[in-house]
């Protein structure tokens, strides 16, 4: 066997720098560089989609992307996040006044920008993060004997974002294994994605009421169901329980509660 495959195939590679991306898109890259990039694209959806996005739009990565200095002006940062070099010794009173003024401006900007009272669907849009499929790779392979083939097929559809197909197959799998926790959980998530909130609540509720590994996460996604349905008060009550329990998703829950 050629040793090249063994050496190269699972070699960890870094994401593309701005310059590498530009060179790859323009075709002005060394052969070695091109191979490294193309091997990396097989493992990294972020870089892979970035390359495809630029190629499909015919945009070979323009130079005028916003640099950090311009971007940072849009942030309303409290003074302690500012760079150290902005503080010079001497004139402490003047600095204190400047810092106080920045704090006031920052706080006003923060509350006007981030802290608007949002309705349920807007909070959902801001805080909802699709659950990344965490079913082990081997379990997704429908040749694995212990895995319900319906489940394997459904999890693939879920991973590909085909939630209509996924929820339909998960429900078939549930007919065979009605209390299978992972199936109930992903069936709930698929229905949440496709906006069938009654079913989503039913499946996620069963998981949240159990003691399995997805129970806490299901509680979080029940909050998402409430927000999507515009039931902000119900969501708040569930959030308070998650925060009180102080376990999985408690930080996210606090952050969302602050936004309410």
């Amino acid at each position: 066997m050629d040793g090249n495959l063994r050496q190269q195939i699972f070699k960890p590679t870094a994401c593309l720098s701005h310059e590498e991306l530009r060179q790859y898109l323009s075709g002005h890259m060394s052969r070695e560089g091109q191979k490294r990039v193309e091997n990396h694209l097989l493992d990294c959806p972020l870089c892979s989609d970035a390359v495809e996005g630029c190629e499909e739009s015919g945009n070979h990565l323009t130079d005028d992307l916003e640099d950090f200095e311009a971007f940072s002006k849009k942030l309303s940062m409290p003074s302690h996040t500012a760079k150290v070099r902005q503080l010079q010794p001497g004139g402490y009173l003047r600095q204190a006044i400047a810092v106080a003024a920045m704090l006031v401006v920052g706080a006003v900007a923060y509350f006007s920008f981030f802290n608007k009272s949002l309705d349920g669907p807007a909070l959902y849009a801001k805080h909802y993060v699709p659950y990344q499929n965490d079913v082990p790779l081997a379990m997704r392979n429908d040749t694995a004997p212990s895995v319900n083939p319906n489940f394997a097929q459904a999890i693939t559809a879920y991973s590909e974002g085909d939630f209509t197909q996924a929820s339909s197959i998960f429900e078939q799998a549930l007919q065979q294994q009605p209390s299978h926790e992972a199936t109930l959980f992903y069936a709930g998530l698929s229905n949440l994605e496709k906006n069938d909130l009654v079913k989503a609540e039913s499946y996620l509720g069963q998981v949240a009421n159990g003691r399995g590994i997805y129970a806490k996460k299901a509680s979080w996604y029940l909050v998402m169901c409430d927000l999507k349905a515009g039931k902000k008060e119900a969501a708040a009550a569930k959030l308070d329980k998650i925060i009180q329990a102080g376990e999985v998703m408690a930080n996210e829950a606090k952050h969302l509660r602050d936004d309410m």
Binding site: C15, L21, E38, L65, P89, A125, Q132, S159, N251, H255
Partner: protein, 203 residues
């Protein structure tokens, strides 16, 4: 003397993404966030371009994405920054498309656009195990032989013959996109097969 000289700043370029995230969360110092922005802003922009298909909208979404990260990173449980960035970028694009009824067509095409696997294949741990396990030498060839025809052809041409996507496409008649897809799925399947073998050897 400037205060700057009294504060020895680490060379942020030497820090891993996850170190940058944890230091940013702990200190709120902008320097750490700036390095993450420098490493990934162009990639997030490319991801947004893929979904939004509009340069100006993509710039706006990327800006929003990094604003969200700036706010959320200190409290989020981030195991892989790039996976987190990828998720937030896609969500923001979808949220923007949902807001615009005129873009429902784009939104409907989202599944099609997202047909590439969304799992990040973290090779570090696996490569370390794999490359130090001499019994895997023969297993690689066996695993390659188990792949479907298209995947096997592309894997052999890419890894054995050192050909690029374009060269493989020219020789096989597949499109470059198909070549990439066969390679992505082939590599993923190889890993599944080899992981099974490694489990057998270590059992």
């Amino acid at each position: 003397m400037s205060i700057r000289f009294l504060n020895k700043q680490p060379d942020v370029r030497q820090l891993s993404d996850e170190e940058l995230v944890s230091r940013f969360a702990a200190t709120q110092q902008q320097t750490y966030f700036e390095e993450l922005y420098r490493r990934y802003m162009h990639l997030a922009y490319g991801v947004c371009l893929k979904l939004m298909k509009n340069e100006d909208e993509s710039r706006d979404v990327v800006s929003d994405v990094f604003k969200i990260l700036f706010t959320k990173l200190p409290t989020a449980d981030v195991k892989s920054f790039k996976a987190y960035l990828y998720t937030v970028s896609r969500n923001e694009c979808i949220a923007k498309l949902r807001q615009k009824k005129s873009d429902m067509e784009k939104l409907a095409k989202y599944n099609h656009l997202e047909n590439s696997p969304d799992d990040f294949m973290e090779n570090d741990g696996f490569a370390a195990l794999f490359n130090t396990n001499p019994s895997m030498e023969q297993e690689v060839e066996r695993a390659v032989a188990q792949l479907g025809d298209e995947q096997q052809t592309c894997v052999r041409m890419f890894f054995y013959d050192d050909k690029s996507y374009r060269e493989i496409a020219t020789e096989t008649g597949y499109t470059e996109k198909q070549v990439k897809s066969y390679l992505q799925n082939g590599k993923r399947n190889l890993r599944i097969l080899l992981e099974k073998e490694m489990r057998k050897h270590t059992a």
